[in-house]
């Protein structure tokens, strides 16, 4: 970590000596490190030391993980809440890229020898964004809230209380040793909430401050436009002096991957966390100013898998599950469907975890073996070439991980006589309800490790978590007394070596019994601008405060000044609109300019007769603007032909390069944005930058359709 190490850290390091030594050692020796891809190397190359850090600037984060319901990570684990939430709220600890806990709001901490208490020493003088001091009372309050409301019950389950002997000391009391207690104090899990606000007696789940938070972290909340953006500003009295470096964070929310890509390419957005649209990566890889990093998800440990319902025949027979494993070629999924970007996850613990056991059974792709196992299990081929039929559900998001793999599994199992019906769900809640209610044969699923197995792994294998109605519990109905015993022991074992041994046995048993067929680590990517210093690449990645991030080299857009013809007073409204639009896009930031262009009172848009509107696209045809809403951002118009059959893009580009004083006239080239009729239109195009083109279009009424 680039922070100065305090004595406290050393002290904590002593306490956690075994954990740390073992952990880092294991880290280095792990044979199956993720393959070092070129983008990974560049990610390393762009890391710089703190001394260069310079304050100022704003960062736009484009956000494809959905609409946040609120900004309080104490109540929910979704990325949409966590990513802005951890900027607003500080936590006692944070983690570096090697799984080492680091001081944050706690400048130091001690774990008692018996493992039954953790003492946190808070930074003195830290304040909430309303100026009130952050005290141990707030820590106690926050732990109590998370314990009561957060979905991950195991995080603070053993906590019996928090003592607050003085405003800067909080002693967390535990009923039994709890190896995950420090990790549970990470930013995504334990936001320090102001007790004087959230403790005012209102229901915390619907508390107004969840949407207008008063935080303790590096950035304070400014505004939130649902479906559009969240704005945070630097908190000037942040308890780490000089930080954060950035003045402002903007989150553009609910963006689809194609529009995210075009925003990143145009440098109007600078960071995309949790990017998972694999087909879109090729395009981003072509952009020299972007870095595509596979890191920042180690603690999350997202595993993509096929789960079996063990209550149902014939899936209750382990030979059938093994046969299915042999019939599926993980290489095909990893290399072909995931274009070589996914890492294999052969078992329940992510290969990025220090507890990962590499020596696990390998179910080689072997259709004959699968056939043989199915015969042995007593499911011979019937006359119609079928052994039995199963249904397969999938989560209706991230198709490359879920739907596409489901179709592949359907295709493969047919080869061995299993007919699979892939069941669609219209929404995530519909899928979650089916799975929670055990109404499934097999389902694709993505489940996160969440750093420590106690938090994210136990829940889907331990038999006392077979809870109907709860998704991501043990919905497989897997029950093995030995597994229960191992997991119960591992949950209280503080010695890293012993714990690792327990988890090794656990991994070996479940991979034999296959309640789940694990496939791959979800290939999340963090995409960021090369000009950023200290990009977020710790084990928590963007799910951790961005107070160290700074602009080493802020993005620069080289605008092309509209030449002499660029006269706003031009008579032709099309030319005038085009020139004005280019000037607006050069004078204002993109978000504001786009708002104005879409505002019908600003004279850029006339949806009546003339249908006059403005479109913008990159040289390769990616649309970034269409104020009539006809084209969606990110769409590729290079494949568009006009009604005569000519490609449209080259004509527009050529016209932009000439950027004459007059509009060009085209027939049957472009539909009217509201009537959608195709007639004669006028177009004027100009260059915004060398790579970006803006065109104004309008329908020529006189030469319209009525021939």
């Amino acid at each position: 970590m680039r922070m100065k190490r305090t004595i406290a850290t050393l002290f904590s390091a002593l306490v956690l000596l075994v954990f740390l030594v073992d952990c880092t050692a294991a880290d280095k020796q792990r044979p199956d490190q993720p393959p070092v891809t070129p983008d990974f190397q560049t990610a390393l190359a762009t890391e710089v030391v703190e001394s260069e850090a310079q304050p100022g600037g704003s960062l736009v984060i484009t956000f494809g993980v959905g609409e946040p319901r609120h900004f309080n990570p104490a109540l929910a684990s979704g990325s949409a809440t966590i990513i802005p939430g951890v900027q607003i709220f500080a936590s006692p600890l944070r983690y570096d890229e090697n799984w080492n806990p680091q001081p944050y709001l706690a400048k130091s901490w001690e774990v008692a020898e018996d493992g039954l208490s953790v003492t946190l020493h808070l930074v003195e003088g830290a304040t909430f964004h309303d100026g009130e001091a952050i005290t141990s009372e707030d820590v106690a309050f926050s732990i109590q809230i998370v314990q009561q409301y957060h979905p991950f019950k195991t995080m603070f389950a053993p906590v019996t209380g928090v003592d607050t002997p003085d405003p800067y000391t909080a002693i967390v009391r535990l009923s039994r040793p709890h190896p995950a207690i420090l990790l549970a104090m990470s930013p995504p899990f334990l936001p320090i909430l102001p007790k004087h606000i959230y403790g005012d007696g209102q229901d915390i789940l619907t508390h107004p401050a969840n949407l207008k938070p008063v935080g303790s972290g590096p950035f304070k909340f400014v505004s939130y436009e649902p479906g559009k953006r969240i704005i945070l500003e630097r908190y000037e009295n942040y308890f780490i002096p000089g930080r954060p470096y950035l003045d402002r964070l903007e989150f553009w929310i609910d963006a689809d991957p194609a529009s995210q890509a075009v925003d990143l390419r145009r440098q109007v957005a600078h960071l995309a966390p949790d990017y998972i649209n694999l087909p879109g990566l090729d395009y981003l890889r072509e952009q020299d100013h972007l870095v595509i990093a596979p890191r920042g998800y180690e603690a999350i440990g997202p595993i993509n898998w096929l789960a079996f319902n063990l209550l149902r025949q014939p899936l209750n027979d382990v030979r059938v599950r093994q046969a299915i494993a042999h019939a599926i070629d993980p290489d095909f999924i990893l290399q072909y469907l995931h274009e070589g970007l996914s890492q294999r996850a052969p078992g329940p613990i992510t290969p990025d975890s220090p507890f990962f056991e590499p020596d696990l059974p390998d179910y080689a792709y072997d259709l004959q073996k699968a056939t043989q196992l199915l015969d042995e299990a007593g499911y011979p081929l019937q006359e119609d070439g079928v052994r039995f039929a199963l249904t397969l559900d999938y989560i209706p998001i991230t198709p490359s991980q879920q739907h596409d793999v489901a179709t592949y599994i359907q295709h493969q199992l047919k080869e061995v006589g299993i007919v699979v019906q892939v069941r669609d769900s219209d929404s995530f809640p519909e899928w979650a309800k089916r799975i929670g209610d055990w109404d499934f044969d097999m389902t694709m699923d993505v489940v996160f490790n969440w750093g420590d197995p106690v938090i994210g792994v136990h829940r889907t294998y331990i038999s006392d978590n077979i809870r109907r109605g709860v998704v991501w519990s043990n919905t497989q109905n897997y029950s093995n007394p030995r597994i229960d015993e191992i997991l119960t022991q591992a949950a209280v074992e503080l010695d890293f070596g012993k714990r690792k041994a327990l988890y090794s046995e656990f991994q070996k048993i479940v991979t034999q019994e296959l309640p789940v067929l694990w496939i791959n680590v979800v290939p999340y990517r963090t995409i960021y601008h090369r000009g950023l210093g200290n990009p977020p690449l710790t084990i928590w990645g963007v799910h951790s405060p961005l107070d160290e991030v700074y602009w080493r080299q802020p993005p620069q857009k080289k605008f092309i000044t509209p030449s002499a013809i660029a006269d706003k007073t031009a008579l032709d409204p099309v030319v005038r609109t085009g020139v004005r639009a280019i000037q607006l896009l050069q004078d204002q930031d993109f978000y504001t300019a786009r708002q104005q262009l879409q505002d019908p009172t600003q004279d850029f848009l006339e949806l009546g007769k003339s249908g006059r509107h403005v479109i913008g696209f990159t040289r390769e045809g990616r649309v970034f603007l269409d104020n009539s809403g006809q084209l969606q951002a990110g769409m590729n118009i290079s494949i568009l032909l006009d009604m005569v059959g000519n490609p449209v893009l080259p004509i527009l580009i050529e016209s932009a390069q000439q950027a004459g004083t007059e509009a060009i006239h085209m027939d049957r080239f472009w539909p009217h944005p509201t009537t959608q009729q195709v007639g004669a239109i006028s177009i004027w195009c100009g260059l915004l930058t060398r790579e970006e083109i803006v065109c104004a279009l309008a329908w020529d009424e006189a030469e319209g359709v009525g021939k």
Partner: protein
Amino acid sequence: MKFLQNVPIRVKVLLAPILLVAGLLILALLGVYGLTQQNATLESIREDMIVRIRAVDDFALLSEEVQSDVFQIAVLQSMNLPVENILPIQERLETRLNKLNILYGQMLIHWDLDAGEKEHLVQIEEPLDTFQQHAVQAARMVLNNQALGVQLVRSSTISFGKLQAALDELRDHEETRISQANQSARQRAQSLTSWIGVTIIGILLVAGLTALISTRLITRPIRAMTELMTRLAAGDLDIEVAERGRQDEIGTMARAVEVFRKNALEKETAEMALQESRRALETLLGNLPGMAYRCDNDPDWPMRFVSQGCLALTGYPPADLLDNARVAYAQLIHPDDREGIWENVQASLEKNHFFELTYRIRTANNEEKWVWERGEGVFSGDGELVALEGFIIDITERKRAEVALKKSEERFRAAFRTSPDSININRLEDGLYVDINEGFTAITGYTREDTLGIPSTDINIWEDPEDRARLVAELTAQGFVNNLEARFRMKDGHVITGLMSAKILMLDDVPHVLSITRDIEELKQARMALQKYSERLEEMVEARTADLVVANKELEAFSYSVAHDLRSPLRGIDGWSHALLEEYGDQLDEQAHQYLDRVRSQAQIMGHLIDDLLALARINRHQMRRQPIDLTALVQSIAAHLQEEQPQRQVEFVIQEGVTTQGDAYLLEIALTHLLSNAFKFSGPHSPARIEFGQTSVEGQPAYFVCDNGVGFDMAHVSKLFGAFQRLHAPTEFPGTGIGLTIVQRIVYRHGGRVWAEADPGHGATFRFTLKEEA
């Protein structure tokens, strides 16, 4: 050869047959083994090829289904069906695209590829990617924006064509490989057979030679011995050789004769071994998937040889077909196909070329199968046609897939068929009906028999043939027509109004019109009824208005006469009370003076009111004459007049130059006088007062304004402003009757304009009005 002398003759005699039998046995074994090996290898290659061709076919079929989905979405969308009907198709489309991807990946990763295949597969990748992208984007865009969507559908059609072309190449490649495998199988089988033949002859020669040598070794001593031996040697072998029990040379000879007899028997065994090897060859042919045959060139196709595949293919065992034993092959062929096959084969034979045929046969269990045949003529050395040889395989599955594709098209057509709107496809050029749906029949009464193959002009469905000409012109110009309203004559002669949308559709490169027509006759009728009703309503309104005008006129006349008639008694009241004051003033006390003053002032007020009423009536009765008016000059003169009347007032007039309009000079002067004197009056308390006149534009029309910086009024009372005798200020504050603005409003209304005011208490008021330039 000396050592042979010591060998007993019986051994020498045995030597040749033993060698012969051993050689033949080894050969037979070798032959059978080799053929089995060969068979297995070839079979696996063939199976592989067939699997691959099938996969490529599946792939092509799937991509066709995807493209058909794209079209389906476009058509359903153009029929304006609700989106719930279209979304499932879109989902299916995306699943199918995904399957395409998986099939492609399987070929790429799980197939053992040769260089040619690899090259072809790589060539598919790009068109496949493009096609997938286009299909997805087209399907999505169609839902969002139909016009751009249709453009993308066109892009997807182009990329689909490219993908199909690439696939065809791959399929050709695989098919070439399969026919190569077939050919090499046959060649190898032939060469193996001839090799066996040659080897057998060789062995026979060697054996014969050996026998000859052995015989010589035996005959020399025999000749030297006895005549009997010669007799015996020349005698019938069947005879019982009685002397063979003897131990001398004759006994040996007798036994030798016996050995020769056995030798003949052994020869028979050898022949059987040869037959066995032939049978192995047949097994090879029999195991091929399909039937190999040899037949005569005769319309009955009498079979001289058929392989075991005959049973699987035709349902008849080979014996039934051989030499037309039970059934002639020609009888199996579908009657419709027989003649074509004969002609095709004869033509190929003439060209000395192989023939390939696809036709239907009916099997023993009365099942119809599609078969593919490839064969050629076998000619003797002097060019005489000896027989036909070839191979027939079952391609029913493939045909079925083609039928399945047709069915999916059928399903697509079902949407067409069952739409309640009238849909038809006709030739652009002459309106010749190619297809109509049930909606068409339901609406027009014309059945399919009435219409298909008949031009629309022949059944006179267009009431006005010009409408069709208009449709064709628009379609030719832009490819589609939306919401064309036209009149159509139904079969029973009645005429309806239809709303037609149409698109150009290419069928076999001939432009056709796909048109969807909705019967809007009822709508039209309802609209007309509404129109009639509203016309009646208008008439009623006009009648009522006329009544009102008369009533108004009467009222005006009445108010004029009332005002006029009231004036003289009023003047009397004023005059007489004035006289009373003048002449008897000194006799009246203070109180009486006050009363009289009040009488006078009330009479004067009443006089003003009557004047105003008269003015108002006059305005209503005034005959309008529009003429150009210089408003600036008019306002200037009114302002000068006001100034003159009250020279003590400090009022600044700001009058815009050059304001002109069209209107009635008399009325406008009255209106402006009222507005300006109002402004003059209400700006009293302000010094310096400022009054502005000018012209602006409101909603694109010229508007005129008079604006002052006087007391203004509360906008809450703006509604009262223009009412007759309504006052916002007490008469003590500002004199007046409250009729002025009513008059202004009347005048403006009579000019077809409107007047309105804005004000702010203490900060003045602005009155604006417009005048309609030309009534």
